[in-house]
Homo-oligomer: 205 residues x 2
C-alpha cells in the first residue's frame, strides 16, 4: 500500500543492482563508472543517486547482502547441532558448493573487492566472513572431539578447506564436463579426506 509512485522505481532499483553486479564482476569495482552502470540500466547517470547515496554504498550493499544471505541460507538448512559432525560436514560442503556454483558473480565480487571497501564497511564484511568460517571450524572441532575426524591443526584445516571449496567458482562453467551434483559429490569426498574421517556410505550420484 501507499506506493503510488514507487512502481517503476522498484524495478529500476533492482535493475541498478543487477547491472552493478554484472559490471563489477566483469571489470572490477574501480574500473566501472556510474555512467556505465546507468547505460546498462537505461537511465542517465544522475538517476542512479535516487537509489544509492554513492558508489561505495553500491558495492557495500552487494557484499553485505551476499554474506548475510549466505549465512541466513545456511541457518535455514543447517542440521540440528546435536547431529553427528560427519553428517553436518557433508551437508555444509554440499550447501557451499551449490551456493557458490549458482552465484558466481556475487561470490567473485565478495572475494575480489574487499580492498575497495572503506574501513568500516570492510570490518563489517570481515565479521560476516569470519562468522561463516566459524561454522565450518565448529563442525571440524566437534568431529575431532568425538574422535571421528583426525587433523593436525583444526584452524589450518578450516582455512584450507574453505579455500579448496570456494575455488570451485574459479573453474566451474555451466557448459563443463561435470554436473553440479557430481562436482559436489567429489568435493564431499575430498573434504572427508582432509579431515581423515570416514564418510557414511551413500549414493554419490
Amino acid at each position: 500500500m501507499a506506493r503510488k509512485t514507487g512502481s517503476n522505481g522498484e524495478k529500476t532499483r533492482a535493475a541498478v543492482e543487477e547491472a552493478a553486479i554484472r559490471l563489477i564482476a566483469r571489470h572490477g569495482f574501480a574500473a566501472v563508472s556510474m555512467r556505465q552502470i546507468a547505460r546498462e540500466v537505461g537511465v542517465q547517470a544522475g538517476a542512479l543517486y535516487l537509489y544509492t547515496p554513492d558508489k561505495q554504498s553500491l558495492l557495500f550493499d552487494i557484499m553485505r547482502g551476499h554474506m548475510e544471505h549466505l549465512l541466513a541460507s545456511w541457518e535455514a538448512e543447517a542440521p540440528d547441532p546435536a547431529t553427528p559432525a560427519v553428517a553436518r560436514l557433508e551437508r555444509l560442503v554440499r550447501f557451499h558448493i551449490d551456493y557458490h556454483i549458482h552465484r558466481p558473480e556475487k561470490v567473485f565480487i565478495s572475494y575480489m573487492e574487499l580492498r575497495n571497501l572503506e574501513p568500516d564497511n570492510f570490518a563489517e564484511i570481515e565479521r560476516l566472513r569470519r562468522a561463516y568460517e566459524g561454522v565450518l571450524e565448529d563442525i571440524l572441532r566437534a568431529g575431532a572431539a568425538d574422535g571421528v575426524f583426525h587433523m593436525e591443526d583444526a584452524r589450518i584445516t578450516t582455512m584450507a578447506m574453505i579455500a579448496m571449496l570456494t575455488g570451485v567458482s574459479t573453474w566451474y562453467r555451466d557448459s563443463g564436463r561435470l554436473q553440479p551434483a557430481a562436482i559436489a559429490a567429489h568435493y564431499v569426498d575430498m573434504a572427508f579426506r582432509l579431515v581423515g574421517g570416514a564418510r557414511i556410505a551413500q549414493a554419490a550420484e
Copy 2:
C-alpha cells in the same frame, strides 16, 4: 659497457616496478594512478614513460615476470621425472607454499588482476598458469598410474589442491602463530590426504 647514462635509470626502473607492485597489491590496478606510482618513486608522472610504454604494460610485465619466475624456479629444483610421485608431490607442495608465502604481493596481483589484462596479455598469463597446473596434474596422474595415489577425478583434485595451497597467501602473516616450515608441513600432510597417498615417514620439523 656502454651505459654511461643508464646508471641512475636502472635504479629508477627497479623503483618503478617495486612501487607499482606495492600500490597495485594494496589498492588494485584500476584504482592506482600513474601519478601515485610516480610520487612513490619520487619522480614526475611523465618520467614513468621512459620505462613503460603505458600503464597496461606495467601490469602485464609484473604478472608475466611472476609466472615465468615461478615456473623457472620450479624447473630449477624439480626432481628428476623418474622420481616416485610421492617424493615429487612433497617437493612441489613445499616449493609452492614457500614461494607463495614469501611473495604475497606478486601472488595477490597475479590472481586478482586477470580482469584488467587486455585480451592478448590475458591469454599469455593463462597459458603460463595452465602450464603450472599441468606440473601438479602430471604428478597426480603419475602417482595414480603407479597405484600410490587414489583419486576419484585427477583434474578436480588438481584444481582443489591448487586452490587449497594458494589459499595460504590469504591468511599467512609473518607475525602469525606458525612458522613457514610448520605451515608447509601441514599442507604436505593435507595434500597427501587429498590424494589418498601414504607419505614416506620423515621429520615434520
